[in-house]
């Protein structure tokens, strides 16, 4: 059967030391902005990813402060200079305080 993950990080297949590479990340997560009401159910509570933090080794390299304007299942990509071998870790935090972590190893 298929492999399915809520969180994912993708690095290019091949890259050299010091090369600038594109990193793609994604989490499957709802986005409710708190202002939508469904019939008989009242307002749907605010629920979305409000922070994405990226660590290269122990260093925090990017912090995204998101709002309800971030999409559902946010897909976030950035460029990284692969200077050394270290884990690349992405932490997503949602409005209910839940944390989701995914990590891949950058090997140069």
């Amino acid at each position: 059967m298929a492999s399915r993950r809520k969180t994912a990080i993708r690095l290019p297949r091949k890259y050299a030391k010091d090369e600038v590479i594109e990193v793609k990340t994604r989490i499957i997560h709802p986005n409710h902005n708190g202002r939508m009401a469904y019939k008989d159910q009242g307002y749907i509570a605010e629920y979305y990813v409000w922070k994405i933090e990226i660590f290269y080794g122990d260093e925090s390299i990017i912090t995204v402060s998101a709002s309800a304007a971030l999409s559902q299942n946010p897909y976030f990509t950035f460029m990284l200079r692969a200077t050394h071998s270290a884990p690349l870790r992405v932490v997503w935090v949602d409005t209910q305080g839940d944390q989701y972590t995914e990590s891949v190893d950058v090997v140069v």
């Binding site: 059967m1 399915r4 993950r5 994604r26 559902q72």
Partner: protein, 447 residues
């Protein structure tokens, strides 16, 4: 990539001093050979008048016998019985894409969705011409088919959609052929649907992959309805199989609460919904779909790639250069090709973001018929919005459906839904309405 060869460079390469006539013969060049004599003669056939009844009034030629073309042909005659209407369609039999998911699930029989173009033409007093359009000469107002040309006063092109496999990373012609033959999308009715029904009923277990493309694809709710129908069959037949619905969009694109409720309440064991899957390739031999982040193995599948306007629109040089789905360059309110009030494009080849679905095509067809009939008399009419009514059956036992009904408004920049009525709580009344809706449309088009 093939290097572009200039005429001068070609001449040099060919030896430099070849005579002009010989060059003309050779210039057909790479991969194209001169036509054999009988094929050349086919050009002569095309260049004579097609054998049709003589036009009794201004002639409107409608190309494409889908929901749009059939409606236009009928309503042009209703608007003005003096108009002479010819419907050109390459298929000999009509098979409906709307309701075909119900047929896949055995809720209606084949006769319910299959109809005769002859009935449609005879009962509505227009001419059916079973032929394939090859070209159009807009200057001379002629449509060329393999059986000769037809003169027109007005021309309506409603050729529907084609698939864009390149958008899911499958572009080699051999791979496209393999994928479209082994795992057809089944959104162009005919053999694709017959293959899919066979697949579903012969399925022995495992993962059955269905996909939802990005962009404005044919019938927004249909892939979700189909997923429900296939899962319902697996559930009913106790097949240890699961529908894996891979959606390029972040969530169900329409009637979300209704479909999610069905997925969770009815098909928990037989359907898995995976959003935000951007497909980057399909390996037919290994039975594997690859996406940006994941790989999905399947035992059988129906891969619905991105759609584009029918290739005929491109062949005729009518594509809007800004349209990512190669749709026609027309006036969005009057439907005529920009700069040519004799030629119109309707149905799923239109560039407006209307739902590519049956009810939309029919309400639009009625408006365009009224517009052309008025213009033939030197008048004009105000734009009317098409109306999208769409039922989706989500349960087969008992039969239950959800629905949406909406029109469109223009805000000065773009079109958006307005007057939206949505029923997301599935019930059997909506299911009965689904069948009534279909019956009334078939009746109107064919009798």
């Amino acid at each position: 990539m093939a290097k572009k060869i200039s005429r001068r460079g070609f001449l040099k390469g060919a030896g430099g001093t070849v005579a002009g006539a010989a060059v003309a013969g050779m210039a057909v060049g790479a991969g194209v050979t001169a036509l054999p004599p009988r094929a050349q003669a086919a050009g002569a056939v095309m260049n004579k008048k097609a054998e049709l009844p003589k036009a009794m009034g201004a002639r409107v030629v409608v190309v494409g016998g889908g929901w749009s073309g059939l409606t236009l042909s009928k309503y042009l005659k209703k608007e003005d019985s003096k108009l002479d209407v010819v419907l050109i369609e390459p298929r000999a039999t009509f098979m409906s894409c709307p309701i075909s998911n119900l047929w896949l699930a055995g809720l209606v029989d084949y006769e319910f969705i299959t109809h005769s173009f002859l009935d449609a033409a005879r009962n509505n007093d227009y001419t059916f011409f079973n032929a394939t359009v090859i070209d159009v000469d807009r200057g001379a107002r002629k449509v060329f088919t393999e059986q000769g040309f037809v003169d027109y006063d007005y021309l309506v092109l409603a050729p529907g959609i084609d698939y864009d496999y390149g958008a899911i990373g499958v572009s080699d012609p051999e791979d496209v052929y393999m994928l479209s033959t082994h795992y057809p999308a089944a959104f162009k009715p005919g053999s694709e649907h017959l293959s899919l029904k066979q697949k579903i009923h012969e399925f022995e277990g495992g993962a059955f992959v269905l996909t939802v493309p990005s962009g404005n694809y044919r019938c927004l709710p249909a892939p979700y309805e189909r997923a429900c129908m296939v899962a319902a069959i697996f559930k009913k037949e106790r097949i240890k199989g699961k529908v894996l619905l891979l959606d390029a969009n972040p969530d169900v694109t329409i009637k979300g609460p209704g479909f999610h409720a069905a997925f969770e309440e009815l098909y928990k064991d037989h359907l898995e919904y995976v959003p935000s899957v951007t497909i980057t390739g399909v390996d037919v031999h290994k039975k594997k779909v690859t996406s940006e982040f994941d790989e999905f193995d399947f035992d059988d599948a129906a891969i619905y790639p991105r759609v584009r306007a029918a290739k005929l629109i491109e062949t005729l040089g009518l594509v809007d250069p800004n349209s990512p789905q190669k749709e026609a360059h027309i006036d969005p309110f009057k439907y005529n090709v920009v700069g040519d009030e004799r030629v119109y494009v309707t149905g799923d080849s239109r560039p407006m973001p209307f739902s590519k679905s049956g009810n939309t095509a029919r309400s639009e067809g009625k408006f365009v018929a009224k517009l052309i009939a008025a213009r033939a008399k030197g008048h004009d009419v105000e734009w009317e919005s098409p109306r999208t009514i769409c039922y989706s059956v989500v349960n087969i036992d008992p039969m239950e459906a959800i629905m949406v009904d909406a029109t469109y408004a223009y805000d000065g920049e773009s079109f958006g839904f307005t007057n939206v009525k949505m029923i997301n709580d599935r019930d059997s009344i909506q299911a009965q309405s689904t069948l009534e809706w279909a019956r009334s449309h078939y009746r109107d088009m064919f009798s």
